[in-house]
């Protein structure tokens, strides 16, 4: 690795320290959550190994030439779409979702790679000189890039990851500078889709509101009519997809729309998670002292419910420190996204920020009971090799852009 004399300018040591601290917190929590569980006793060692690999990957990505991201964007995108297709055919099922591919004994989720590649591909497309999000055609292409992996993942099906992709897509087109009306075009099918889950009356009401907005914008009868038709189709399509979903995911959606519908089923995790965090108090019960954690009240706590371990054993202080570390990380990434003058890199970094942030907000929000139980991990903290590697690579991209930011001024 080439380090010149102005080390501080090229490497943000605080950025690095922040995510290293988060990795350490994660390792402590995983150790605590798995030490009493015979199914997961090796997970700490495995995670330690992945952290090592992750740091190496971070530095590799950090060091490569910045323009290589743009070069690899499309090949990687196509490769990941291919992998997603493969996983649907050959993937292994874990808790109702077919999202794992195995190479020998090594399992990984292609959707993790798709996250990077979609960010890169979308940024690459949107940073082309003639692309304008006011053009219907360009919106459709952007949607196609963003939604192809979404549809493939929906077929797996993996709710949480779909949400992540939607968040990434919206953030990137927002950052690109989409106008209010274009945003409306993009968002309205989603809103209609969501409303259709609540029943017929909300669905019709939402359609009526959309019709009124279309009349307000006065975009011509054919354009408005076809938009309305798309919305209508989105509603029926959602209904179709909902019924095609696996029962455990239907229950999760239902339990989100009506939390009391299944207090002992998918609500159970949520209740136990809240009990764990709430009973932690100010200082927590101490490392390895959390009843909820040590007695395995929350299944597979080392993955999606890792924040409960922190909440229970390290209390309000420990959980707040974790939150603040994430906040620092986000602000630093946002700063880099705004200081970079290259549009492709800026869009890429904002995509990475949205990926981290949506994971962060859904995962912790789920643990503290203000979000539905959607199985997505807490970046850098939750157990899991492929997600950790991808996250470290993403942070490597951010650090890389920071290193070369002055080249683009």
């Amino acid at each position: 690795m080439h380090i010149n004399y102005k080390f501080k300018d090229k490497f943000d040591i605080w950025f690095f320290a922040t995510f290293i601290l988060l990795l350490c917190i994660g390792l402590l929590a995983i150790y605590s959550a798995t030490q009493n569980n015979s199914f997961a006793e090796n997970n700490f060692i495995k995670q330690l190994f992945w952290v090592g690999i992750g740091i190496i990957i971070f530095f590799i990505v950090f060091s490569i030439p910045t323009n290589s991201f743009k070069i690899i964007a499309w090949p990687v995108y196509l490769f990941s779409v291919l992998l997603l297709l493969v996983v649907i055919v050959f993937g292994r099922k874990i808790s109702g979702a077919k999202s794992w591919l195995y190479l020998g004994s090594l399992g990984f989720q292609p959707s993790e790679i798709a996250k990077i590649s979609t960010i890169l591909a979308l940024s690459s497309f949107l940073s082309k000189k003639d692309v304008d999000l006011e053009k219907f055609k360009d919106i459709l292409i952007a949607l196609a890039i963003g939604l192809t992996p979404v549809i493939l993942i929906l077929l797996e099906p993996d709710m949480g990851t779909v949400l992540v992709f939607i968040a990434i897509f919206l953030t990137i087109i927002f950052w690109k500078g989409i106008s209010l009306f274009s945003l409306f075009i993009v968002l309205s099918p989603g809103i209609v889709a969501l409303s259709s889950l609540f029943g017929t009356v909300p669905f019709i009401l939402t359609l009526a509101v959309i019709a009124l907005i279309l009349i307000f914008f006065k975009k011509g009868i054919i354009f408005s009519g076809s938009l309305f038709a798309i919305n209508l189709a989105a509603g029926f399509f959602t209904d179709f997809v909902y019924h095609a979903l696996s029962p455990h995911q239907q229950i999760r959606i239902k339990s989100f729309l009506d939390p009391m519908s299944d207090p002992l089923g998918s609500g159970y995790n949520s209740i136990q998670a809240k009990v764990a965090i709430g009973s932690g108090g100010l200082f927590g019960k101490g490392f390895l002292e959390g009843h909820q954690t040590q007695l395995n009240f929350i299944p597979e706590q080392w993955t999606d419910f890792i924040y409960c371990v922190i909440g229970e054993e390290f209390g309000f202080i420990g959980s707040t420190i974790t939150l603040i570390l994430f906040l620092i990380l986000f602000l630093k990434i946002l700063k880099i996204a705004t200081t970079t003058k290259d549009e492709f890199l800026s869009l890429t970094i904002i995509g990475i920020l949205s990926l981290f942030f949506i994971h962060f907000i859904i995962n912790i929000g789920m643990a503290v009971g203000i979000m539905p139980v959607i199985g997505i991990p807490l970046p850098l903290v939750s157990y899991g090799g492929s997600s950790l590697i991808v996250n470290m690579a993403l942070l490597g991209i951010v650090a890389n852009v920071f290193r070369t930011r002055k080249n683009y001024t």
Partner: protein
Amino acid sequence: MKAENFASQNRKTIMLGIIVIGFSFLLVRLFQMQILQKSFYDQKSQNNSVKKIEKIPVRGLFLDRNKNVLVNNLPFYSIFITRADYNTEQNKLLESVLNLDEGYIDKFLEDNKKFSKYFQLRLKRDVPFNVIAWIEENIEHFEGVNYKVEFQRGYPLDVMGAQMFGYLNEITQSELNKNKNIYKQGDFIGSTGLEKEYETILRGEKGFEYILVDSRQKLIKKLDDNKNTIHAVKGSDLILSIDAELQKVAEESLKGKRGAIVAIEPKTGEILAMVSAPDFDLNKFASVTSDEYFKNLINDPAKPFFNRAIMSVKPPGSTFKILEAITALELGVIDKNITYNCTGGGEFYGRYFKCDAVHGRVNVIQAIEHSCNVFFYNTIYKIGMKKWNEYAEKFGFGKKTGVDLANEVSGFIPDENYYIKEYGKNWPKSIMASLAIGQGEISVDPIQLAQFTSIVANNGDTFKPHILKGYIDEKTNKYVSINAKPIHIAIDKDVLDLVKKGMFLVVNGRGTAYASRLPDIMMAGKTGTAENPHGADHALFIGFAPFDDPQIAFSIIVENAGFGASHAAPIGKLLVQTYLGKKLNNETNNKLAVK
């Protein structure tokens, strides 16, 4: 590049805003949960993982006056189901193993739906050990099924005292509501008799152990070493005044009959035996009461659950002549020399009343000895309604004795007002002649008669009849005696001597119970035959022995048996023989030993 769009200041601010708002939301929520609501979640966490295990104490025993064990506890296995873990696919197997009807478990679970699904529901009591062993071996096929050792009542001497001892039953909802902090659903509680009366002494104190369980409620370890653990305290053993042998003999003497026996130690008021027949088999109540057995008992016209000794009221018949004699002598309306001529009957206030025989001239002693009605017809008119009623109540009739059993009745002693109400101001005075021989509207129960006999035997001084002598406090290991209320009725000693002499002659002279005399023990008594408009007469006998130092006084009623002399008095003889014969033997043995 459109500067106003791409990464504009506005969009940067919005992004920053979203991040900060999201962060703040989580922070506020954490503060709310971990600081403001900590105790709420703490409690939940405790409930989750720390389980309070209840230790049911062993119930106190019943010992008789000689410390023989009458009622003890026998261990047995019960099978429990926890609905949360139970899979109804196991029904068939479990039903066949436990010998239950098909569909029983479905119905059982349906019936117990109102309880928490984590609650262990007792499916069956008294499951044989080989069945338990089999279930234990195949426990993987019985998820949510467990067994526990429980205790049931045992009756080692085969002394039943069915209605007196009573039985245990699963606590009812109303009892539970009254004592929520002591009992829980499925607990057994004294339901009748002494088991109910002394529940608080017998039950002991529940113990609690705290264990750490994991999310599947599996034991991880016992929590804290004796810091919060409360050891169960065994219930205190009751020392009853009952004499096991006498009780057993008394029970057997009424086998196949309807009736009651109450035997009391006159000096103390301690009840030596109390029998009500027919009775029922307490053993069948100790474990699983079959519905059929219970239904049969409930529907039995002889009412086996009914404790006749304290609940069945009947006219006392000629036994009441003792009371009348005492009253008349005490009031001075007759003396020992007054005689009446019995010609086999007599007319009183326009009605003819007969006597059982032609007794000729009899004084009060002879009148008692031969149970001459004519003498007492005449006497009651001298006493008058008011005084007669007053003395009857003075000797404990017409009110509860206060024995330590629930559901005692008061009986009834009519007074003038009663007849005025019934027949008007000019009520027929002939009624009094009926009262004179213990017939008519008088109703008394066996325990009142036994108490009366005690008072007479012990010259006016006794104690309220009671069954509990005391108990051995399990905590202090000290004997706590129960002080019964003394009864003192001031009567002239000469009066009692006269009456008792008459009672002596009833048995030992040429009296009505001469057939029941004992060669070596002097017993005194009075027979009675209560007329029964619904069927055969009831046979009665009251008595005490030995004559010069009474140690047992008793009343016996055998329903629909006929003459007291022939059906009740022989039982009296048996009781005295049993109780005093043994005592005399012991004393002789002791004397021999001393020598």
